[in-house]
């Protein structure tokens, strides 16, 4: 609750700073404020409070809230560099990015479906704008508009589903909805199941799982690089945490109906994400399809939510996020120098900037799931959870998928070391390097010693 309020206030500060001519303060205040909020968030650990029957602050929300705040902090550090030449926009952009975090925090701690809906909408509407924020770039316009139309459609499904669930259970409260099939096990309304399936469709859209993934590559490609980095990490974290909470707390008692749907979606997502990524030449599209395939692995956690694999979910999402942000922290200066977002922009980076190339290689290896980085153990935890819950076929598809994955992640590494260098001079700055090394340090440290996260729950 405090986290939510202070994050909103931080957003309002950014908005007012423009009027008060405090534009120079925005960067430092944001970083400092988010660091404080990160600390404040830890105060709620083991507190288990409920506010107005709407917000439930427990260890789950604190852990994922911390992850989201951390990601936002990294993105803010990157943004002061990325938006250095667009000073007059920085206040608006930072405000909206703060509100994205507010939406995400609501999605972690909702205990009422109205809060879930509001959280998803706050997160999405802010991101529709940011995806289209490069106004004079056709690609960016297309991304914003496409994301908006598709997202609005998915929100319609979500609302319709919530309405049907409300109609059959008579409550928005997730506890009462969870009790409904137990108390009325003799005559569960078919409208309840229909509502659940519609809500699941909307959530599958938000996590960009197949067959609702079509927006992801176009939007990731068109949006400004920084926003792509933010979308591919924070949205995935928020949507998967909310999806997990919804399934494990609410729908777990109506298992046979939705398990089948989710299983099919997981297999499809794994196949589509990994196979489509093979033929991509644009780096952002490649990471978009890689994000879809990671959504496929995470679907395994949603499927096995009966055994409460919160730690595995948190670990995997953290590993995915740090690797992705590290990859973008290398890609941003390279793209800017090369004025291209294709994989060939990295050609010969191994000879020009060996340190940067090594860092990107580590990020790619982390995404591919090669030990000793976090990606490997994340996948390991997920596969064991899924096998324990009896999803053999889906796990086999996931293992084959991650082997395919190694091929397209190595495409980037091969471009850096195998191709002749181009003339372009790449310059990185302190902020990019800071974020890069923090991410890689986490990926390596928690990959070698995963206990701090695994023992949290």
């Amino acid at each position: 609750m405090n986290t939510l309020i202070f994050t909103s206030l931080l957003g309002f500060f950014c908005m007012v700073a423009e009027i008060l001519n405090l534009r120079k303060l925005i960067g430092p205040v944001l970083v400092l404020g988010l660091a404080l909020i990160f600390g404040l968030n830890q105060q709620d650990w083991n507190m288990n409070q409920t506010f107005y029957g709407m917000l439930q602050v427990d260890n789950f929300s604190v852990a994922f809230g911390s992850l989201a705040i951390f990601i936002t902090l990294l993105v803010f550090i990157l943004s002061s560099e990325y938006y250095a030449d667009q000073e007059h926009h920085i206040s608006d952009y930072m405000t909206i990015l703060c509100f994205v975090l507010v939406g995400a925090l609501m999605m972690f701690s909702f205990s009422n479906l109205t809060m879930l809906f509001l959280g998803i909408e706050t997160l999405s509407i802010a991101l529709y704008i940011m995806a289209g924020s490069k106004r004079f770039d056709k690609r960016s316009n297309e991304a914003g508009f496409k994301y908006f139309l598709m997202g609005a459609f998915a929100s319609g499904f979500l609302l319709f589903g919530i309405a049907l669930v409300f109609g059959s259970t008579g409550s928005f409260d997730i506890q009462k909805i969870a009790e409904y099939p137990i108390l009325n096990s003799q005559n569960i309304s078919p409208l309840y199941y229909t509502g659940i399936v519609l809500i699941i469709f909307a959530m599958l859209f938000k996590v960009s799982a197949a067959p609702f993934h079509f927006w992801a590559p176009d939007v990731y490609e068109g949006a400004p690089v920084l926003i792509t980095a933010y979308m591919s990490t924070l949205v995935k974290v928020a949507a998967f945490a909310a999806f997990y909470k919804l399934v494990s707390a609410v729908f777990v008692y109506s298992t046979p109906h939705f398990e089948f749907v989710l299983n099919i979606a997981a297999i499809l997502t794994l196949a589509v994400g990994n196979l489509m990524a093979l033929s991509q030449t644009n780096f952002k599209r490649l990471l978009a399809y890689s994000g879809i395939s990671h959504a496929g692995y995470l679907m395994l956690i949603i499927l096995s939510s009966k055994s409460q694999p919160v730690a595995a979910l948190l670990y995997y999402l953290l590993g995915y996020s740090v690797s992705t942000i590290a990859a973008f922290a290398v890609a941003m200066p390279v793209f800017k120098a090369a004025n291209s977002e294709n994989i060939d922009a990295f050609n010969g980076l191994g000879t020009k900037k060996p340190v940067l190339a090594a860092a990107l290689s580590i990020a790619m290896l982390g995404l591919a799931g090669i030990p000793p980085f976090m990606g490997f153990f994340g996948k390991y935890f997920i596969f064991t959870e899924a096998l324990q819950n009896g999803f053999f076929i889906t796990t086999i598809v996931a293992i084959v998928g991650s082997m395919i994955g190694i091929y397209y992640y190595f495409k980037v590494i091969l471009a850096m070391y195998g191709q002749p260098a181009n003339e372009v001079k790449v310059e990185t700055t302190f902020n990019y390097n800071l974020v890069l090394w923090v991410c890689l340090a986490i990926s390596l440290a928690l990959g070698l010693y995963p206990a701090p996260i695994v023992n949290l729950f």
Binding site: F12, M15, Y52, L118, I125, I129, R135
Partner: protein
């Protein structure tokens, strides 16, 4: 009994006007039929004792949103000639998926035991006062958080529409 007849008249008007929205050739006619559709839905709200909701629905949707839609349609200049040729494949896909969803919903309606329709006795449950009390007690937090959502949307419109200084 009379309210039941009224319901059927309103419901059929809603469906017919909604169909006209989809099938009208000219987008302007579509928008006009949409206004009509919204008014009939407001009628449903009144019959369900949701007076405040009915008024808000007319003001916001039939008033504000419609003006916005009309402006957009006129600005877009949607002539037959300017539209690119579309393949019929997406249409088929849309019909199949939409039809399937309707089938699922109809089947769910059919096999669930819905209470018989009876016109609710007149009550003040939908008055502004009652709605306001609900919003400021039980739903206070969502109400407050909506402000964040709206501010994000407002800043967004400024970001997307503001004239660039450069």
């Amino acid at each position: 009994m009379s309210s039941q007849i009224l319901f059927f008249i309103l419901a059929s008007l809603t469906i017919v006007s909604a169909l006209f929205v989809v099938f009208s050739k000219s987008p302007i006619y579509s928008v006009m039929w949409m206004i009509f559709c919204f008014f009939t839905i407001a009628g449903h709200y009144v019959m369900l004792n949701a007076q405040f909701l009915a008024i808000v629905h007319v003001i916001v949707y039939a008033g504000a949103i419609m003006v916005l839609l009309l402006f957009t349609v006129m600005l877009l200049n949607l002539n037959k000639e300017s539209e690119p040729h579309k393949s019929p494949l997406p249409k088929f896909a849309a019909i199949i998926t939409g039809g399937l969803l309707m089938l699922v919903l109809l089947a769910a309606m059919h096999s669930s035991t819905l209470p018989e329709y009876s016109s609710p006795a007149f009550s003040d449950v939908g008055y502004v006062q009652k709605v306001g009390t609900k919003i400021f007690t039980e739903f206070l937090l969502p109400f407050e958080m909506t402000s964040v959502l709206f501010i994000a949307a407002m800043i967004g419109s400024v970001v997307l529409a503001k004239k660039d200084k450069n």
